[in-house]
Amino acid sequence: MSLLTAEIASAGYGRATVLHDVDLEVPAEGRLAVLGANGAGKTTVLRTLSGLTRVEGSIRLDGRELVGLSPYRIAAAGIAHVPQGRGTFGDLTVRENLLVGGATRPSRAARAEADRWMERFPRLGERAARPASGLSGGEQQLLAIARALMSAPRLLLLDEPSLGLAPKITAELFATLDVLCRETGTAMLLVEQNAQAALGIAEQAVVIESGQITLRGPAAELRDDDEVRRAYLGV
């Protein structure tokens, strides 16, 4: 059985419907990339999974229905979401940002886990007591990922982690992500404009256009697909 099974009949905001018939599956420890142009509805997919949109359909994590739950309950159920723009708590310190990520865990475990992350990423450790707004873009993205993993989630949702980062930083970030998710056994659902980077890390991928899935398959196959190459890989 898949870790995540989403059958989204429709989803949107207020009266506007953005997604139609979007079905997604992520196996335990699996990795799915969602590709698409600006405004195709990629972000809405993630926001729907986190309970931030009006949705019709069914979203199950380990068999548990999530539709109708508040976002904070979905987070507690095991979905961590790194939103677009990273969602940093700018006026809290780096350490406090990590502790907020561990809000659903017992406080001693959260403190120990925060210390482990700061040891692992010395750039965060050095700035433990400083406001997180002072970090560079790449550091903030790293902090956002560490913050999300603080909750020991089953599934990590990432919304355009490469946005605003230099190519070299993006490559480093994806390498780190790869290692972290493998180590912790966390499944990943990644939304990206940078199809190259996304297909490099994902196992499966879907392409979304105007709120509908137009193509799906193993990441390696999509990388060779002429349509995808032309539209999203720029070759």
């Binding site: 976002p71 987070a75 961590a80 939103p83 969602g87 708590f89 809290l92 406090e96 502790l99 907020v100």
Partner: protein
């Protein structure tokens, strides 16, 4: 003479600080100004008075009044504010608090009549000589009580998990929610604390002003001036702003011609000048004003 004025100003200022703190806590929780904050404080003062009349010592009455007002304030957030806040209607929200202000005032008048009542001082009568300045026991008690409450809240916010959740929910509400924090719950908590702090302010100032349904209206104006001066989203700013407004009000009352007749104008002048010169206040965040 000047030192005496300063001492008096600090004592009334501490009350403004407490009420401004309540206003700031609500603003941080719901991004709205609670015009009913003064009436919540007034209701707290009446509850304290009633309990004293029924035979409770004033020191026992105060915590009961604070607890009751915490519940009432939280309940009004859930029933009146939350349904509108969900739809992002900032202006209707303010109007609802204005309506609530009038409603609470009417209920108070109905329940306790419009006659002035005398409230026993919490800290006994008499004055203490502090280096040539005579300061009443009540004033010293007020300042110390507000200080203790400020320190307790400061420790709660800065050093507890619960405080971190509250600050995270204020800093980036959606991110907090995605981290498993119920922002609805932190919002209600903000209103509850504001209700309790307001009841404290009302009970502390009632012996000075005599208890009647119009008592808190001028105090609320000073508290808004204090919150504006300190920065609407800064609890520390509220405390500093309250003291500053108290001192300025007292000095203006004594040293300006006709100052005591136009004391209230001081609040208006402070609000307008701050909004023109430094809209975010002394310690407020700039974004708040842009929103």
């Amino acid at each position: 003479m000047l030192l005496q004025q300063l001492a008096d100003g600090i004592a009334t200022g501490a009350i403004y600080s407490a009420l401004a703190l309540a206003i700031v806590l609500v603003f941080r929780a719901s991004r709205t100004l609670n015009f009913a904050q003064g009436e919540f404080a007034l209701l707290g003062a009446y509850v304290s008075w009633q309990l004293v009349v029924w035979g409770l010592p004033v020191w026992a009455a105060l915590p009961v009044s604070m607890a009751l007002l915490a519940v009432l304030s939280a309940a009004s957030e859930r029933a009146l504010i939350r349904p509108l806040a969900r739809r992002h209607q900032a202006l209707p929200l303010i109007i609802v608090t204005l309506g609530l202000m009038i409603a609470i005032n009417a209920v108070i008048g109905w329940a306790w009549t419009y006659q002035t009542k005398e409230v026993p001082a919490l800290f006994g009568g008499g004055a203490v000589d502090l280096g040539g300045v005579a300061v009443s026991r009540q004033d010293i008690g007020i300042v110390l009580t507000v200080l203790v409450v400020a320190v307790v809240l400061g420790v709660l916010f800065e050093f507890t998990r619960w405080g971190l959740r509250m600050r995270a929910a204020v800093s980036a509400p959606e991110s907090a929610e995605l981290s498993g924090i119920s922002t609805g719950r932190t919002m209600t908590m903000g209103w509850a604390i504001a209700g309790a702090v307001g009841a404290l302010a009302g009970t502390l100032i009632a012996p000075e002003l005599f208890l009647h349904p119009g008592m808190m209206a001028p105090v609320l104006i000073y508290a808004f001036a204090a919150a504006t001066l300190g920065g609407l989203d800064s609890p520390v700013g509220a405390l500093i702003g309250g003291l500053a407004v108290g001192v300025v009000e007292n000095l203006a009352g004594s040293y300006l011609p006709h100052g005591s007749d136009f004391k209230q104008v001081v609040a208006l002048v402070i609000i307008v000048v701050v909004l023109l010169v430094r809209p975010q206040g002394i310690l407020g965040r700039r974004e708040v004003v842009r929103v």
